[in-house]
Each structure stands twice: as structure tokens, then as C-alpha cells.
Assembly symmetry: C2
Homo-oligomer: 469 residues x 2
């Protein structure tokens, strides 16, 4: 079996078709009857260089699997990146050159941020180019307008790489689980946060110390706010939820809480109670409305998601037909993210000859359902959840009684209770409760009353509990 | 926002398009400009009734997400199934009625087996129908010919439901990881076997006892051979491997070993050594050739795959760009399998208006690479693996020395060693070894010599070890 002839972008010559080897004809036709796809990459950082490397290394396989060669015709980069070879590719320092290059079919936006990236993507769309992006902030905050613009111009905007790196979870939600009504999903979708929580648990170390280590290892940025305060996870949750529920992107409605106030004590107490603390993004379709929330969460130690450690990501999805499926892998990194970028390029490549790529042949950017314009999102006070509560109080007789009296008065049931001397041995004790499910607004009121009790000295912490059952 | 007008299969009327509400126009155009997809279901057992239920319950969502209504126009069933409502659907007792029904666009083959099912699928293809099937035996054993026939007729044969139930792992391999060269994959792809091993471990019970329990619970068939001897897993591995490596389907080349000879002792010893025994399907692309093997395997207790218990399935995939990603979920059952069937229907529905669905717009049934006709598969003697070895011998001084002498003479390194009195307290002892990686042919020779030693009384067992690192 000889390989198909080199791809010259022309239509096939009839003499080859006379061969009676079906496979050869098939490959021949695939190789030359479909034009190559011309791709321009904007941004040559970690993900950009990975994308260049994967496109080059696996070019033959990609051609065989999509029926076309994928040609990297232009790169826009502020400076060269020795991590990849750009020798035979036109390089510009202006990303807008790529957006305006008539040769480019697909613009790959890998510059990040929302300012230039938004302009760039809009310009590419205006110029009739399909767009592939790994930019979660851009899609979560501006996706609704971007998709609308793309629809009007008849181009595709694909963003698999914006959520959970290598894991094809957008495709799983939108295509693999298309027959399901999604009840809820819960994911570890920020590798930095998961690394920090994993290390805090393994080493019994405080947040600040582990954050410093993560920064030294390159897992956390110099300004770690986006990761540790949950904004990055909220961007990703926004994208997952819109795909799950057929709503618009609702970043502004997403409740976001980071991990910086979690202490080694909390992690230890949770363990004693049979739980593990993970920073989760949770989207939940309830009868009252949609919950969109990112926060530290106690989950059972025996749950598979509790075993997802370090910088790995994982998304658990509950569909009405499929039940629970879970998707796991590296949530960031050069080639893992490139893997998702290249998958989007391949999907678009397959559709390039369809008469109108948006006529129903392509999967729309969001599975937006009619009648979802007025979807109700619940405020965090309105969600109903079980909680872990930690109260630092003077180790006096009667404190526990006062605390449980307030809890009971608010109609909250206690599922489990620990009272522990603090490690500081300072005459204080930690009272730890697990509550039954209760509307969060009620719990917050009870905790405010408790915080004002004479014997309560420290802040009253609460962390939501999910059984993911 | 009013819902789109009812779908009558006609083209849209122009007056609606005059509305200036973009979304309404979009939905309107989607609703009426695309013909409904007409589906015929063959087989109304567990998966068939689940498919009917999901198509009916989630009809509105499916229409919104694929741009077409999916109409169930005919069902072939030997007898009614009270688990679903077929009141308004034409029902026949002859599956070939569906294959020949000019109204049917997509035939859903859910009858199972390879005899009638093969005829049925061939007839459907000859009649120009697309096919969706959940039949792993049919695809693994006859897929090469079926796909060739489908290619000639320009129809799609989709089979996501044939592997790992609800988990969209074929889509992940073929589309989500299209940019990767797959190095290897390893999966728990038979729920019955995994349930039995999980129970044997939890209850310290022998295989035969747990098998009986699995049969009572409906997790194992009256004749459990397909599941416990690994044939079902080999079918699924065949399909995964062809998708991973771009080869033909090679069921006949797949080495298959079941779980019936695993004892509670093996499970306990493995645990002491830090391992868990799982029944895995493993496909490995090596420099020497492709390994295709289904067998019990020791994997580290700390590995995520070791936590996949009961009837759940999970597939771990190692790609050169993505690294390790894992896909987890229910591997069987009525609606979980239907979820995958419906996803395939939706994929085909999107492509129905493409000018030639096989022109490069659709994902081909296998990502078959040119030049892979002469792929080399390795025999089990030629694979290189670490092993767990258990030898039952008289509890005499000197036995261990004789055993290790034979091992050493064959150039095999020992990584760990246990010597344990048997629980029967019968003067016998179990010698348990973990070997370094060695060509299996060499290990087998050494074990044959050991089996013939005077003091060795029982069978010499070996189980391969994989670190999946």
C-alpha cells in the first residue's frame, strides 16, 4: 500500500481513479480532492508552541484522519519561542495580520486575556475566519456576543481547550451526552487550587506556605488571585453549565469562593469525618432555578473525585439517561491544551466543504435552547446544601450547649459533631458540626448569632458538603 | 420567546423570516427547513426500550440541539416490552421490515448476536440506510466488511454504544484526541467481571460464589462465559484499539484471559504488595508491534483505575500530546447504553443534509491510516511485562532457594517476595514473587521448570503487573 500522493491543493487527476484498489482511490481522493486547511496561530507561549509542535509532529496522522492536510501558514508572536520550530512559517509580530490574512481559514487565538483577544476574535470573524480559542475568560465573559457575531458571518468559534485542558469534556457534554438532560455537574477544574489543597493535606501545611511552593514550581502565577480565588474555575464552570443546560453563558451569575481561608485543621477534621476538601465548580439544575457555584466542598473520601490529586482536572456529569460519567486528565500544560486546540481544528476541517457550515451540519457553539432567555439562577442564600461548620470558642463548660441551642432554634439538624482542643493549646477548642441540608440563608443567620456569642473567639467557618450521589 | 412552530417536514414560509427577531428566525429555520430524521429501532429488549424512552422523553431537547426532530417511525420486536410506550409507533415482528422500509433514514440495531444482526445491518446498508448499533461482537468480528460496504453505499455505521455503555469513549478517541498518537490504553470494560473482582475483594469470597451472586442480581448471564472469560472485553478492546492506532479491527489477534482462576489469596497477596487486581483490556503500540490483550492485571492501589469498583467501566488513554486522560461511567444498562445510541443518531442527523456524508464531512467509522494493512501484532509470549507469580509448595527449608535459583537462571529479576503459610494450614506455603519486566516467553519457561520441582504441589499462577504510569 503506497501512501497517497502529496497534497497540492488541486483536484484529483482522473487516471488515478482508474486504479482498482479501493483504498488507494479513497486515500487519493481524500488527499487531493479536499483543499488543505490553512491555519494561523496567534500567541506563541506555552499553548501556542505546543500547538505548533503537535500540528507538525502529527501532521500525517491528522491528514489521514480529517481527509485534509492542516497547514500552518502564519504565526503571530511578540518574540520567538525556542520550544518550537517556526523555520518555514511566516511570522508576524501583529496578531491582526493573521485575522486579516486572506490565506487563513482558521485563526487560533492563544494570546489570552480579554482586551486584544476580543478585538482579534471579532476581526477574524468579520473577515470570515473560523476561530479556535483556549481562552476561558474570553468565552465566559464575551461568548454570547462572539457566538452571535459568528452565527451572522457563518463561521465556527470552537473552544474545547478553554475548559479542563486535554479533556474533551465540552465535546462529551454537547455531543456524547446530547440525548441527556443534565441534572448537575461538578468538577475539579483548576489545577493550581487542586495542587494546593492536595499538598496542604499531604504535608499538613498552611495555605500560604503551599502557595509559595506552587509559585516556585510554576503551578501558580506571581499574582495567584485568578486561580486561588476561584475566578478561573468560575470561567470554566460558566462554559460547562451553558453547554449542560442549554442556557446562555452566565458568568456574572456565578457564585465564587476561593480556597485561601481553608486551614490544615479543616482538612484534618474533614478527614476524621470521612471527607476530603476539594475546590469544585458545581452547576445544578433544580426546580427552583439553576445553581452556579464555585467553592471549597467536602466530598466523601470514597468518591472517585476525592482521588483526583495534584494539578489534574476531572468533571463528573449526571445525566438523566447516562447516569454519572466522569472525565479526567491534565487541565493545563503545553501539549495537553494543544491536544484540545487541534481537536477543534480537525472538527472544523471536516466541515469546510459543507455547503453552509452553520446550516445544522456543525454543532452550534452552545446548545442554546429556545425559551431559556429568562432562566432563573439562584443566589447562594437560596441554595439548599449540607454544611461543615467550624467554631473556635473558649474551652468552657456550656459553650457547646449554647452553640447547639442556636443551631436548633434555626431548625437546623446536626448530622455529626466533633469537639477538639486546638493544636495551639491556647485554652480554645474547635467545635465542628456537619449539618443536614438547609437553605443557606438560614444557616448564615444562625452562624451570625453564633459568632456573637461571648465564648466564640475566632471566625465561624462553613464549607458546603456534597455527596455527589 | 415563543417556541418554533411544529415541525411538519416542509420548507419554511417566507412571512416568518420577515420577523426581526434573529433567534426566532434561527429556530424557525432550524425547525422547518431541515427534514425530520426517521428512525427504526430493531430489538426492544433492555437497550431498545431505553432508546425508545430517551428519544421520547428528551425529544424537544434533541430537536433543539440537532436542528431536526427525530421521529421513531418503526419498531421491530418479537414481543411487546412494558418498559416503554410504543402506542403511536408502527410495530413489526420482522426486523427486515425496518431495513427495507423506505421511510427509515437510520436503522438502530439492538438485537445483538452476529447472525441475524449481520444480515440485518447488511440489508439496511444495501437499502441506503445509516446504521447505529450497540453490538460489540458484530463490530469487532465483522466491522471491517461492514464499514467497507457502508463506504461503498455512502452511509454511516456508528457504534459508540458498543463500547463502555454511556461513556462517549469512541468519540473521545476518534475526535477529542484526534491530534494525538495514542501510545496505549487500558480499560475496565466488562462490568460483570469488575463486579465479581470487587466483591471477591470486599468479601474475601471465592470466584464461584460471587459469580452466583452476580447471576442472581442480573449482572451475569446464565452462561457467563462471554463476560468472565474475557470475550466481551476482547470485543470492546478490538474496537478501541482500531480507533486508537488507525488499524483494522483485529479481534482474532487479541489475547484473551478471564478471571475464573483468580483466588481470594491472590487478591489478598496483591493487596499486601500494594496492588489491586483488575480485569483489563490493554492495547499498546510498541516499537515491535501492537499488543492487544485482555487479562487480570495487578495495578497500584493508588491508581485511579484501582478505585473503579462494581459494574462501572473506565478507560485510561495515553496520548503523546494529551498525556493520560480517563473516561468513567456505567458500562451497561438500559438508558446508559441508550444515551450512546442517541448520541450517534444525533451525529448522523446533523450530517443528513451534507451533499455526500462520506466526502470528508463525517468522521469515518475507523480512523484507518494508509499503510496499516500489515501491522504487526505481538503474541503474548513476545510482550514484555512485570509479573506477579504465586507458587504453592511444601513448607520445607530449601524450597525458596530452589525457586529463586530457577528464576535467576532465566535472567529474571525479583522485585518483591512474600512467603506465607496457606490458610488451609496444610503444611503448604505460598511463595509470591513480583518480577521485573521480562519477555513473557522467558517467564513461562521458568515457571514450567518451577512447576516440575518436587516440592511444588499446586498450579503455578502468574498475573501481569502494569503500573500505567
Amino acid at each position: 500500500m503506497s501512501p497517497p500522493p502529496p497534497d497540492n491543493g488541486n483536484r484529483g487527476c482522473i487516471f488515478m481513479v482508474k486504479s482498482n484498489n479501493d483504498l488507494m482511490i479513497k486515500n487519493f481522493l481524500r488527499g487531493v480532492s479536499l483543499k488543505p486547511v490553512k491555519v494561523g496561530v496567534c500567541g506563541l507561549g506555552v499553548v501556542g508552541s505546543g500547538t505548533v509542535n503537535v500540528l507538525q509532529r502529527n501532521a500525517e496522522q491528522l491528514k489521514s484522519r480529517t481527509g485534509r492536510s492542516i497547514q500552518l501558514v502564519q504565526i503571530a508572536a511578540r518574540r520567538p519561542n525556542p520550544a518550537c520550530d517556526t523555520a518555514d512559517i511566516s511570522v508576524t509580530s501583529d496578531v491582526f495580520d493573521v485575522a486579516k490574512n486572506p490565506e487563513v481559514d482558521i485563526l487560533i487565538e492563544l494570546i489570552g486575556g480579554c482586551d486584544v483577544a476580543l478585538d482579534l476574535v471579532n476581526t477574524a470573524i468579520e473577515n470570515g475566519k473560523h476561530v479556535v480559542t483556549a481562552n476561558k475568560a474570553l468565552i465566559a465573559e464575551h461568548g454570547n456576543e462572539i457566538f452571535e457575531r459568528a452565527r451572522k458571518k457563518g463561521v465556527i468559534v470552537a473552544y474545547e481547550a478553554s475548559v479542563a485542558g486535554a479533556i474533551p469534556v465540552v465535546k462529551a457534554l454537547r455531543e456524547g451526552l446530547v440525548g441527556n438532560r443534565i441534572n448537575w455537574l461538578a468538577g475539579i477544574i483548576n489545577g493550581t487550587g487542586n495542587f494546593i489543597l492536595t499538598k496542604m493535606k499531604e504535608c499538613d501545611s498552611p495555605f500560604a506556605e503551599v502557595l509559595e511552593e506552587a509559585q516556585q514550581l510554576g503551578y501558580a502565577e506571581a499574582d495567584p488571585t485568578f486561580d486561588v480565588e476561584g475566578i478561573d474555575a468560575a470561567h470554566k464552570l460558566t462554559i460547562l453549565a451553558a453547554n449542560a443546560f442549554g442556557t446562555k453563558l452566565m458568568f456574572d451569575e456565578t457564585y465564587t469562593e476561593g480556597i485561601s481561608r481553608i486551614t490544615p485543621d479543616d482538612i484534618r477534621y474533614a478527614e476524621e469525618l470521612g471527607y476530603c476538601i476539594k475546590h469544585l465548580g458545581i452547576a445544578h439544575q433544580t426546580n427552583q432555578g439553576v445553581e452556579l457555584r464555585v467553592h471549597p466542598t467536602l466530598i466523601p473520601q470514597t468518591h472517585l473525585l476525592a482521588r483526583v490529586d495534584g494539578v489534574m482536572n476531572s468533571v463528573l456529569i449526571n445525566g438523566d439517561a447516562a447516569g454519572q460519567t466522569m472525565y479526567y486528565g491534565p487541565g493545563a500544560g503545553s501539549e495537553p491544551t494543544a491536544s484540545a486546540v487541534v481537536a477543534d481544528i480537525a472538527d472544523i476541517a471536516r466541515l469546510l466543504d459543507a455547503p453552509d457550515v452553520l446550516s445544522g451540519t456543525s454543532v452550534p457553539p452552545l446548545p442554546y435552547d429556545a425559551g431559556q432567555d429568562d432562566v432563573i439562577t439562584l443566589s447562594i442564600e437560596d441554595i439548599v446544601a449540607a454544611s461543615y461548620v467550624r467554631i473556635r470558642a473558649k474551652d468552657h463548660p456550656g459553650v457547646l450547649m449554647k452553640v447547639t441551642e442556636v443551631i436548633g432554634r434555626h431548625g437546623i439538624n446536626i448530622d455529626a459533631l466533633l469537639q477538639k482542643e486546638t493544636r495551639e493549646n491556647d485554652g480554645m477548642a474547635d467545635i465542628v458540626l456537619l449539618t443536614d441540608k438547609i437553605r443557606e440563608g438560614v444557616l448564615i443567620k444562625a452562624l451570625q448569632v453564633i459568632a456573637e456569642l461571648d465564648d466564640v473567639t475566632g471566625p465561624v467557618t462553613h464549607i458546603r458538603v456534597e455527596h455527589l450521589g
